[in-house]
């Protein structure tokens, strides 16, 4: 009976979605189709669609980055969590997420007029992007909404129940990600009005996910073996593969955020590559100096940290600044992960906070320091170019986001823990998530 009821609910959802279908194809009713077609730039549209595809690949890339770092009994668990986020939040986004984030609304939350993508079609929506169809902007943003909750997985890896994870992710995306995206990027959002600069998601994606990672790591507690020994990564080549896919996808993430195939996109592309390179090099050298060897894990972690840090700044700074941002982020993350984490004793298993939280905060503040109108006239000058207010604005955005995420994540975690129970049993944790949550194994022994 329960299954039958579930099928009926599912069918009715399908019916609602199909009802909204014509909007996607026709665009906003009453608009002048010929005029809209003239405004659309095919180069811009092609680049944004391509960028959406690049950012989509980052989530499976992240899965391999994280998957290599866990023990082999948990790799499928991590891959599955990342992959199911791709599935579930793609649906959540077109049904409610996009409207809550981007529909014109209040200061704190978007309106409901774009539920089910009603009216989001092939005509541009000039407040966001004047030269591409609204639907292209929407699907590009969908990929950001997908990867952000996936980043948090690193904090509670190897010990969260799959069912609890699903519920947590949907609630978190709806009640934490969507509002924060509206604050910073949505029409009417209060941080946007304040003048916050966040080119590609340093605040919305990385501070957001990073703080949520810290909260969940503290709440779920350490892995059972953590006190005796932090378990070693089981497959570093996977981690390198994942980091490479992230770096590749990040060109879409940052250069795509120019929302056009133009000079700004080229600037973002170049500084993104430069910051990743300088942070990778920086971390390798720090490892060499302090730990005796330049490690592979350190180098690829550095690259990811550099990509995180340049994200909010990519459209506002030049290449020399990118080198500085990259070098410094490797220092901050290296210290946070190598020294501070062990002092404080929390088990952020794959350093989601250490890289995305710390890197994201540094990136947001660095944008307030180094932003320059010479790079992007639509942006603002930072402290070093004579505008101290910008640093203050970036600080407000950082603190407000961190505070909201902290409280929101805490409440959602408590709720999920009450309904389902977040953590797996001791036996299940010892046997691994692959077998206990998915009834599969990643590796065979003989055949």
């Amino acid at each position: 009976m329960r299954k039958l009821a579930a099928i009926l609910v599912w069918l009715s959802v399908c019916g609602t979605v199909i009802g909204a279908e014509p909007d996607l194809l026709q665009g906003r009713a009453g608009g002048n189709a010929a005029e809209a077609a003239a405004a659309i730039n095919s180069g811009d549209t092609a680049w944004v669609l391509m960028s959406a595809a690049l950012v989509m690949l980052m989530t499976p890339g992240l899965a391999f980055f994280y998957g290599g770092l866990v023990r082999r009994k948990n790799i499928l668990g991590v891959l599955m969590q990342c992959f199911i986020v791709l599935a579930v939040l793609s649906i959540q986004w077109v049904l409610v997420g996009y409207s809550l984030s981007f529909a014109p609304g209040g200061k704190f939350l978007g309106g409901l007029e774009w539920l089910g993508l009603k009216g989001v079609g092939s005509e541009p929506y000039p407040d966001y992007a004047a030269t591409i169809p609204h639907g292209a902007f929407m699907i590009f943003q969908a990929m950001f909404a997908i990867i952000t909750p996936a980043l948090i997985i690193g904090a509670f890896a190897e010990r969260m129940k799959f069912s609890a994870f699903l519920l947590f992710t949907v609630l978190w995306a709806t009640f934490v990600y969507d509002p924060v995206a509206h604050w910073v990027w949505g029409v009417g959002g209060w941080l946007k009005k304040l003048g916050t600069l966040d080119f590609a998601g340093g605040t919305v994606v990385h501070i957001n996910a990073g703080i949520a990672a810290l909260v969940t790591a503290l709440m779920i507690g350490k892995r059972r073996c953590y006190e005796k020994y932090p378990p070693p990564p089981h497959n570093l080549p996977f981690t390198v593969l994942g980091a490479a896919l992230l770096w590749f996808g990040w060109f879409g993430f940052n250069a795509g955020s120019a929302l056009g195939a133009n000079g700004l996109a080229v600037n973002a592309f170049v500084v993104t590559n430069t910051a990743a390179a300088s942070a990778a090099l920086g971390w390798a050298l720090l490892d060499w100096w302090f730990n005796g060897n330049p490690t592979v894990l350190g180098t690829v972690s550095g690259a990811v940290a550099g990509l995180v840090a340049i994200t909010p700044a990519a459209g506002y700074v030049g290449v020399a600044t990118a080198i500085v941002i990259g070098l410094l982020v490797s220092v901050f993350c290296f210290v946070a992960i190598g020294f501070v984490k062990h002092r404080l004793g929390y088990d952020d298993s794959l350093d989601a906070f250490g890289i995305h939280g710390i890197g994201g905060i540094w990136g947001a503040l660095a944008t307030g320091l180094f932003a320059s109108k010479a790079i992007n006239p639509a942006g603002a000058d930072g402290l070093l170019f004579g505008n101290p207010r910008q640093l203050w604005v970036q600080l407000i955005a950082t603190v407000a986001t961190a505070g909201y995420v902290l409280v929101g994540t805490f409440i959602i975690y408590k709720l999920v823990d009450k309904i389902i129970g977040v953590r797996v049993s001791e036996t299940d944790e010892a046997m691994g998530l692959d077998l206990t949550q998915h009834n599969e194994r990643a590796y065979t022994m003989l055949e």
Binding site: C225, A430, M431
Partner: protein, 120 residues
């Protein structure tokens, strides 16, 4: 060379993989500090038809187990058996076995020592 006459035993145990940590801990507490671990496939009386947990069926009827090899002097045998039994037992089919074998000789490669002195 009184030590050489002391009897030595080789203890081989087959246990569940997820019980390894607990067994290791109990062995350390019993001051049994040398251990060789390998990953093996096999089955016992249940013929590998079902693994007990969540109806998971291992393909090929062989299940993953951990094999421990521990060489000890006779006075450590009971302690070792106790540590493994307590650490590895769940009470369900598939907990494994412990075999105790006579060990005629033991040589520490670094020094060339032999017998009971070489074991610890």
């Amino acid at each position: 060379m009184l030590e050489r006459k002391r009897a030595m035993k080789l203890i081989i145990a087959i246990i569940r993989p997820h019980k390894l940590e607990e067994v290791k801990e109990r062995l350390y507490k019993a001051e049994v500090n040398l251990i060789t671990v390998s990953e093996v496939l096999g089955h016992g009386r249940q013929k590998g038809v079902t693994e007990v947990y969540r109806g998971f069926k291992e393909t090929g009827n062989l299940m993953r187990k951990i094999r421990l090899e521990i060489a000890v002097n006779e006075n450590f045998v009971e302690k070792t058996i106790e540590a493994i039994t307590e650490g590895a037992r769940t009470g369900q089919i598939g907990d494994g076995k412990i075999f105790v074998l006579d060990l005629p000789e033991c040589i520490r490669i670094r020094t060339g020592e032999r017998g009971g002195n070489a074991i610890g």
